[in-house]
Amino acid sequence: MQIEELKIKITALFPTVVFAEGTQWLTLNIEPTEWLPLAKQLRNEDALYFDFLSCLTCVDWKTHLTMVYHLDSTKYRHTIVVKVKLDAAKPEIETVSTIWKTAESHEREVYEMFGVNFLNHPDLRLMILPDGWEGKNPLRKDFEDPINMIRL
């Protein structure tokens, strides 16, 4: 029931979004350029009120990257998942750290692990990897390190 209601509300605001089928929560697929305006609406619209960004991560599909955002509302207790497809060669997306402050550190983690460039991020630096790290991004599928083997 809740999923259907949410679907109607979001379609009213953004007629172009595509919903995925057969998922645990309502899942939206959108383009990178649509993300920032959508995020602002999701956060500020009274009927939606997604104020809690619980999980921000990225998946490497070799041909492209997908950013995955799990959003919750502490007021209505509903959840949605937003997925944004990025170009694998030049992954770029707007930061949402101005909307949800926790995104700042989560985006830094994705930046070093996947090489995603977050536009307008206030402080996009390495956090986990050692200073002066050169080489591939560790959580990409093509990353191999023969000295410090991660794959068992």
Binding site: Q24, D51, S54, C55, D60, H106
Partner: protein, 371 residues
Amino acid sequence: MVEELGITTEGDLQINVGPQHPATHGVLHLILTLNGETIKKVEPHLGYIHRSIEKMCESLTYRQFSYVTSRMDYLSSHINNNACALVVEKAMQIEVPERAKVIRVLVDELTRIASHELWWGAMAMDLGAFTPFFHAFRERESINDIMEETCGARLTMNYIVPGGLMQDIHPDFQKRVKHFIQLYKSKIDEYNEMVTGNIIFQNRMKGVGILSAEDAISYGVTGPAARGSGVSCDVRKMYPYEIYDKLDFNEVLETGCDSFARYMVRIREMNESVKIIEQLIDNIPEGDYQAKTKAVLKLPKGEFYQRVETARGELGVYIVSEGGTTPYRIKFRSPGFSNLSALDHMARGSKLGDLVAMMGTLDLVIPDIDR
């Protein structure tokens, strides 16, 4: 010359706390910008204990991957294992026997008490009182003994597996848990007498590290740290798993928004955990402790997410499956990582000495942050 010493032109001083510092409880490295004794900025530098658990899991099977999660938040290893078991069971639609569910909740809550007890001892030690640490460890030790008997391990349990439990409980389990509950009840007043009511302790905690409810939500803070700001976020209540929806317990909320409120949440939460254990310990149903599952687990293609309430907050396990025996991608949304992101905001403008109280009440476990 001045810049080499880390002093900027405005007279700010940069100092390093950690990575080897007793108050950080592990290898956390903070770079502080100070003006006199006032904190202007806190920059966490992570990675000293990063083992790349997410990458490792991509080559581990669904039976193996929960073992490494015991090494994430090592103080709530049962709860981490429980999250992994739940996500696999949800994806494969495995029905877990009632006996296993009850025992899972029992060991989860015992872990929560053990974790909060260690936190309590370490917290008092951070603020200069050494004795409480030994008191806390006395009780925690008896939980560890119970775990050792049943699981064979004292810290990295790996007792909860997809489908149920690794083995049945030890015949003495119920007797010893009841004994522990008795012991705990006789000692909790001692805790409050020694630390909670202590005026020096209260002065160091009250009004320190203010985190408003809006900021707690925006920074993604969960667990006792958020409940100290009055944010209702207990996963056991909001999104019940196992048998939590059938149990009688309260979500502990404090509205002080300061370190003392967060302290009180944890103290009261231990009593709630004891309440849960008392409801269940005499009512463990008979039957199997494990569902019949195939030797090799294969998850259907798709995405699966499960959240649980660890001693530190909301742990999320996100699995992307391509239909094979290993996950394509796995992400652990660890509570510590999000809670740490609020530290800079909390610490700005306060004195250097108060930083320890803030870090203590966020209850940071570094392997949980780094993963």
